[in-house]
Structures are given as C-alpha cells and as structure tokens.
C-alpha cells in the first residue's frame, strides 16, 4: 500500500477489464438486480439500446478495485463517490479504469481522485470524483526495530554494589556485554569483569563519580567507544541509609539521598538518552524501595528520595517511550547486602518472618527482574514498577 506521504497530486493508476457474460450473471446473483434490460436479449431488442446493457454499477465497481488495490491500496477508506453513466457498456467491451489524484488534504489524510472508465474506443462511459481516506497500519516506528545478532550492551551503575554485582553477572548470563561502573573498588570491579567474561561476554570497567557531570559524560563516552552503543542502563548505585529520627534530620541528610537517587539518575539518563534515541531503542531500569509504599520510621530522607524516583521514572517513561526508550523500575523489599549490614538482625528476622515467602530478598532476585526488564521480553513495559518482596506487600 502507499503511505499518504508517498502520494502526490497527479499520481495515476490504471486497470483493464473485459466484460464477459458471466460477469453479468454473477452480478445478478450477488445483487438480485435482474432488470431485463441487462439480462434479456429479446427484451433489450425492444428498447432504444437494442442489445443488453451491462449494469452501470458493475463497471463502476472496478473503481473500487483500483482504489482498494492500487491508489492508495490496502487500507483505503473510500467514503465518497460521484458517478455519471455517459454511455452504455456491452458484453465484450474492454474497460480501462483510470484514477488520478486531484487533491490532498493533509490534515485529514484524504485524497480526491478523478475516476474515469473508458471503452475500447477511448470513449468515457463513466466518470466521477472519489474521496478516499488513507488509513495507515498502526505500527509505530519503535516496533519496527531491527533485530540484531550482536549482543546488547548494558551499563550497570554501581556495578560493585550488592545488587549491581548480581546484575552484571545475571546480564552476562543472559547474553549482554557489560560496562561495569565503579566508584572506588577497582579490584572488585575487575573480579566482576572476569566473572562476566566467564560467561563469554565482553566487559569493561569504568570509574566515575556519579555526582560529577564530566565523569558521567566520560563514562558514557568510554562505553560507546568500547561497544558502539549502550542499549541498557541499570541504575544500581546506592548510598548508606542512616536511621535518623525526624527531629534530628538536617536538610543535608535529604540532599545526600536526593543527590544519589535523583540527581545522579537524572544526569546519567540525560547523558545516555541521546545514544538510545539515535538507536531507536533503549532500556533504563531504576531501583526503588518498598519503604516508599510501606514506610518505616527514621528513614524519611531515604523514603522521600525513593518516592521522587518513582515520579522521575514514570514521567520519563511517558516522555521517552515514543522514542523507543522503556524506563521501568524494580522495588525490592529488604535485600541482604552490604548496604543493609547495619540493620539490626532482629529487624531482618522479623521481616523474613512476616514475608509470605519467609526470607529476605537476595541480590540475585533483584538482578533476575532487572535482566528481564533489560531484555526484549519486556519490550511492552514502560513506567512499570515490579515489586520484589516475597509477597510482603501486595499492592
């Protein structure tokens, strides 16, 4: 089919059809119009036409054919037609049906066509004006992505943290090359790189201060130089969560959480998105916290930042999804990592006891869902928040 944009005023199409007796019989069978002028030679001979005349609408029906198959073709919505039957058509006539674009209405995507049917003597037997709306199939550009054989590349921010490390390894198992970001722990980053390579995937390690814009740009640039592209961004960086009673909180406690959870996430996403837009595809995964939906005391600075991250994730997902970038988040309950090492054992035991699956979340549980969100299996998710809490909170 032709797309509306591909159709120009003056475009023409033609089809030829020779009328045979069985055409009339089929038309009568279909419509029930057995007017004797069309089907009875004896009757016709008594009229001014002397011989049977082909139904006018039989000839005109070939206008439908030319609109529906050629100009514009599949998806044409033929909503108006004027007709003048100028000369009779007989069995054996060779009809040439012509359509020519006279006008275009860009706003409504409507074309106006001059339609004419000529006989073998180049006489116009039927003429009229057709109006057609060009309907295009609803395939957004983001759905016609090229499926590549080359592995996708994932940038894991905070790749040496508990969830970050598990994510790097899970992504490698699932066929991703990995850019492992670390802040200071180069030794661990190199160990994780070796682990990724054991799974036959490529990896590089990149150090960056995620609160420093220049560092972030350099990190993205290094990743693209190494792998030509970044398909996935997993924001796994986190900072400690000190228990602070509300009356003891100072604004810098909030700022510290906001900087790691919001400022760095915002800056990294802003730096990587142009590359993803260029490729017409990207996956971004942020990590939330169950505490944003099921709060606990003494964490208002952290909960505020994680709640803001929900808003950032949803708003960016809405804005960037039309460009092929899917932004989602995962929300784990208490995960047994170094970050939560200071949480009292009793709280951990109680949390596990109150969880229907009777344990705390593991970094691998979170990494599994992140890898799902990084994969093509989740390509129709945008702005989604997948909770990983063993049934602790069913919202």
């Amino acid at each position: 089919m032709k797309k509306y944009a591909e159709i120009n005023v003056g475009d023409k199409e033609t089809l030829i059809h020779t009328i045979i007796k069985s055409d009339i019989e089929k038309f009568v069978q279909l419509t029930g119009d057995d007017n004797r002028l069309h089907v009875d030679e004896k009757f016709a001979s008594t009229t001014q036409f002397k011989k049977p005349v082909v139904h006018g609408m039989l000839g005109a029906s070939f206008i439908s054919t030319i609109i529906g198959t050629k100009l514009p073709g599949d998806g044409a919505l033929w909503f108006s037609q004027s007709l003048e039957f100028l000369l009779p058509v007989r069995i054996g006539d060779v009809l040439t049906v012509r359509a020519e674009v006279l006008k275009k209405n860009d706003k409504e995507q409507i074309i106006e066509l001059k339609t004419e049917i000529h006989n073998q003597n180049r006489q116009i037997v039927t003429k009229g004006i057709a109006k057609v709306k060009v309907i295009e199939t609803e395939v957004a550009p983001i759905e016609v992505e090229k499926k590549e054989d080359t592995p996708k590349t994932a940038l894991v921010i905070g790749g040496t943290g508990g969830i970050g490390k598990a994510t790097c390894i899970q992504l490698a198992k699932d066929g991703f090359n990995v850019i492992i970001h670390y802040n200071k722990n180069k030794t661990l980053a190199e160990e994780i790189k070796a682990e990724v390579e054991k799974h036959k995937q490529k990896a590089i390690i990149v150090s960056a201060d995620i609160l420093n814009d220049a560092d972030i740009k350099e990190m993205i640039s290094k990743g693209i130089r190494a792998f030509d592209k970044i398909d996935v961004l997993a924001n796994c960086a986190a900072t400690g969560i000190p228990n602070i009673k509300f009356q003891d909180l100072v604004w810098t406690d909030f700022l510290q959480q906001m900087e790691v959870n919001i400022k760095s996430t915002f800056t990294i996403i802003q730096a990587v998105v142009p590359e993803m837009i260029k490729n017409g595809y990207g996956k971004i995964i942020n990590i939330g916290s169950l505490s944003a939906e099921k709060p606990n005391a003494d964490w208002s600075h952290y909960i505020t930042a994680k709640s803001a991250l929900i808003g950032l994730t949803k708003s960016l997902a809405f804005e960037l999804a039309p460009k092929g970038i899917r932004i989602n988040m995962v929300t784990p309950s208490l995960v047994n990592t170094e970050l939560t090492a200071d949480i009292p054992v009793k709280i951990k035991l109680l949390t596990a006891a109150q969880t229907p699956l009777r344990r705390l979340a593991l970094a691998a549980d979170v990494a599994g869902v992140i890898s799902f969100l990084a994969s093509e299996k989740s390509d129709f998710l945008a702005g989604e928040n997948i909770r990983i809490n063993g049934g602790q909170a069913m919202i």
Partner: protein, 76 residues
C-alpha cells in the same frame, strides 16, 4: 545454653521431641503452633527464664531465631 533451654520449652509446649526442633523451627513447620499454644509458649518462656516479655514482642516471636534473639536481649 539458652539455645538448648528454649528448645526444651518449645518441645514441652508443642509436645514434640526436642531433636525435631531445628534452628529454622517456626510456626510454619511446627503443626501444633497455634495461637493458644503461642500464648502458652510465652508464659513458659517467661517462667523458664524468669523474665517478662514485653507485649509488643509477643507477636514477634514466631520462630526459634527470633525467640533466641529476644530472650538474649532481655537477659542482657
């Protein structure tokens, strides 16, 4: 030491052999651990250790590890 005594108390309350009470024992895997026996367990623990378990902790003692942790905290 408390570990062994707690298991003995649990054994008596739930009427099961002490050997069957592992460190992972909980209301999920001890069939007799219903709400009535839970109250008996609290009373038995208080009597055994000569302590008073705070009301807010009563509902928390749903497995062996939590009982051990809370009793040890109280005994400190």
């Amino acid at each position: 030491m408390e570990n062994k005594k707690i298991k003995q108390v649990m054994s008596a309350v739930f009427e099961i052999p002490v050997e069957s009470i592992s460190d992972d024992a909980s209301s999920d895997n001890i069939e007799n651990w219903d709400s009535l026996r839970h109250l008996n367990l609290i009373l038995a623990l208080e009597e055994e250790f000569g302590v008073s378990i705070p009301d807010e902790e009563v509902g928390n003692l749903v497995n062996f590890k939590l009982i051990e942790l809370v009793i040890n905290d109280i005994l400190k």
